[in-house]
Symmetry: C2
Subunit: 493 residues, 2 copies
């Protein structure tokens, strides 16, 4: 038969974490912000473990967290056909009603248009841009004066760098390293040919620790630490074993990255949209509610608006906006009610609604490198010479590019449906990035719609927020709760 088999999903209408496979990559600490450093690899079981271990070895946070490692290894075994994961701990004692199925717009086919009434005085047309991801465009979603106001509000509030390189000592990490260099090699060697190709190193984006890796700077690093004597860009097991990982870390620490070398080169701020916010901000939230056809509770309890400025030379390499879903993952927005201490936290952004606030003189397109590709093949995406995720160099080779046009909204689903009316797996095809701004400035804004893949936990969260609103008045407690829920959304990468 033609397609690869998957284990059957549970027939139950409830989210069934025990049935879920740990697919894709682990969400690392500090991933409350977008997930630009998510590795992209196959085979998935191997990859997940590889990535997790690399993360354990090379990143400072949670290093030596043996409990988490054991937990992960346990789930990985389940993935390999072993024991299923233990049933999830109930998030709390209170019962909450099961939320209604989530609406999902129909794409029909690329180019399909549907007329909608989002505001009183005009019609809008929602045009399908791709089916994988399910991606739409709505010209004129914002009025020009609304765009200008958002920029103005953001400037008044002040924008900060979207990414700053971590300054911690890399060497710290090495003291607690628990994986042998041979194991590490095996984990990186995805195609199991006994050699590390450049693309296998590129795929582990987090190795760069915030710095975007290119084939050239990996080779530069090899050369500096004399890791690849024959200079072919491929590390044999011998070459890898001869390498002293401390040299790698020293090199990375010594090398001061410029902003153009980061994963993300922009400034941003957050604008509140809840009760009492500027009427335009409120109106936009209502318009997004009508656009997405999701329940008001979900949209109202979602993140504030993120406003982003890309200067000339700005970019954001391709990434997915939300992390994968493991049984042990919790969402930033619902962790308030999760009452659990778990190693993985992600932002659970079911949808992204992106607004173009100005017309950009040159560049700055939004690229979806693998949109509507027949298959999602990481090793076609990341090759030894061309990395399609690189939005400074290879936007022209992506499958789909959207040119910024003031007032246009594009929106897409970062997760597939689960077949039961709720959130399923992360959609690999939602990979997207901001192309290099070659001339002028680019202003955009993001509205993310947060939904917990655990239907029960989302229900509990909504119930709790409603209770807080009743007890604390119309706008004080929910705001506090929201701030707390999004504390990590403001932590820089």
């Amino acid at each position: 038969m033609a397609a690869a088999g998957l284990r059957p999903e549970a027939g139950s209408p409830q989210w069934a974490p025990a049935e879920r496979e740990p697919a894709g990559a682990a969400a690392g600490p500090g991933d409350g912000e977008d997930a630009p450093v998510r590795p992209l690899c196959k085979p998935r079981g191997i990859c997940s473990r590889a990535y997790f271990l690399v993360l354990m070895v090379l990143v400072h946070l949670y290093l030596g967290n043996v409990l988490a490692l054991l937990l992960f290894v346990h789930y990985s075994d389940g993935d390999d056909g072993g024991h299923p994961a233990p049933p999830r701990r109930a998030p709390g004692p209170q019962p909450a009603p099961t939320p209604a199925p989530l609406a999902r717009l129909e794409g029909i086919k690329v180019g399909h248009e549907q007329k909608v009434q989002l505001v009183a005085d005009r019609d809008h047309f929602i045009r399908t841009l791709s089916l994988k991801p399910l991606l739409f465009e709505v010209p004129g979603f914002l009025r020009d004066e609304e765009c200008r106001l958002i920029i103005h509000l953001a400037q008044m509030k002040g924008l900060q760098r979207s990414q700053i390189l971590p300054t911690e000592e890399y060497e710290e990490a090495l003291g607690t390293m628990q994986v042998s260099q041979l194991d590490l090699f095996r984990l990186l060697d995805q195609n199991r040919d006994g050699r590390l190709q450049l693309r296998e190193v590129l795929a582990q984006t987090r190795l760069g620790n915030g710095r975007w890796m290119t084939p050239e700077n990996i080779q530069e690093m090899y050369s500096a630490i004399k890791a690849d004597p024959d200079g072919d860009g491929v590390l044999s097991l011998q070459e890898f074993s001869d390498m002293d990982l401390r040299d790698f870390h020293k090199y990375m620490r010594r090398h001061k990255a410029e902003s153009s070398e980061l994963v993300r080169n922009s400034h941003h701020t957050w604008l509140y949209q809840g009760e009492g916010a500027h009427q335009v901000m409120r109106a936009i939230r209502q318009r997004v509610l009508r656009l997405t056809r999701l329940p008001a509770e979900i949209v109202e309890l979602s993140e504030p608006m993120q406003v982003v400025r890309y200067g000339e030379g700005g970019h954001y390499h391709a990434h997915v906006d939300s992390g994968p879903v493991y049984p042990e993952t919790i969402c930033s927005h619902t962790k308030l009610v999760a009452n659990e201490s778990v190693p993985f936290e992600t932002s659970c952004r079911y949808m992204t609604v992106l607004f173009y606030l100005n017309n950009v003189t040159g560049g700055g397109e939004t690229v979806f490198p693998v949109a509507d590709n027949r298959t999602y093949d990481e090793m076609s995406l990341i090759q030894d010479d061309v990395d399609l995720r690189d939005t400074r160099r290879h936007c022209d080779k992506g499958n789909l590019r959207v040119r910024p046009q003031q007032g246009t909204a594009v929106f897409w689903y970062n997760y597939l449906p689960d077949g039961q009316g709720w959130v399923g797996d992360v959609d690999d095809y939602s990979l997207h990035g901001g192309c290099l701004v070659t001339r002028g400035t680019k202003w955009i804004a993001n509205n993310w719609i947060n939904v917990d893949p655990s239907r029960a936990r989302q229900a509990l969260f909504q119930q709790e927020m409603a209770r807080l609103a009743r007890e604390g008045g119309a706008d004080s407690q929910p705001e506090w709760a929201l701030d707390r829920a999004y504390r990590d959304a403001r932590v820089e990468l």
Copy 2:
């Protein structure tokens, strides 16, 4: 922006023929059977008219039907941005309730599995094979003994050749030809480069009049009628003008095609599944009902089961199972209530459920040449040297192949949704064929689910069938009506 614009669709929940564009190719006469000879071409407006005119010139039926031609030209003008089509004539005076939205299974992603209970004693798993078309596979849908029984019933009833070449005199057609050879050239020259490439001729499958055209036999024909003196396989305008079309027809008539040279090389018969049919046939219909989640009226009023035998050397070149939808198209199953005389009739097969009745020793896969392709590009599908629709030669190059396995059902949607819960445009990606049986015999069966793209006419049809059933008893009148509705389904290509 990235994707080509389309005119907006009507927001009304009713089928709105005036909003519809004549997309793709016209369904020709005798197309009540599958539509293997549907041309595949772009740009669509040009193509439709081209195809229609070629059809007018070369096929015997309806030739000189000036009314139809005028009607078509009228709609083509609408397609080119001119006047919209006139509102459709109401199908009848009786009001019928609007049918509920049609269920459509969720594909989620390739490889996704969902568990379903179709029979009392076991579970089945529906696995997604592709999203374009929305295509699934259900192993073990039929028990082995059910497969054997169906084959037995078909053999008892007797099978007939699925395709016989028409024997009418081609010359007849020429007498009433109304298009100049220059116009014909322009219509065939899709890429408008002033030359006819082989693929442009191949794309007009109907030119073969039931015989499958290959690059080789077109060149053979050119050579026989001295149409291409320089032998490069490309006809210049001069070469085309110098050609006497009567020579072409004489050549086609003289050349006796073997069964391997036909579009379809198989034998088939029809097995009744309505009230009073064999209990296994009834049970399968009920199982299909549960599988498709469509209303019982729709499934019960659909075509009988078609059982097909492909001997060694059998094949069916790639085709779509149903025709495109024009405002002037009527469906074979509802024409009883349409009370209209219109030039286009098609079978309106919303879904195809295909059963593999045996394991085939060699070959006989079902191929979907463009499944999940990023784009549907006819000229990539049909090239001068490789025609991916050719299932005798190029099955190995198709995107998706399903190997026959006794008892497995595959099913797919031949139409896209319209966004209002009803039937939209034909899905170009549903193109499929039966690969050459290299060894042994292949037995399959088809259940087509017929739905009229006019929601109102489907409602009227169901109402009328219900009335006939009430008046004529449980099984006499509907059977008669069904027989009448499917009279054309038994007419050979």
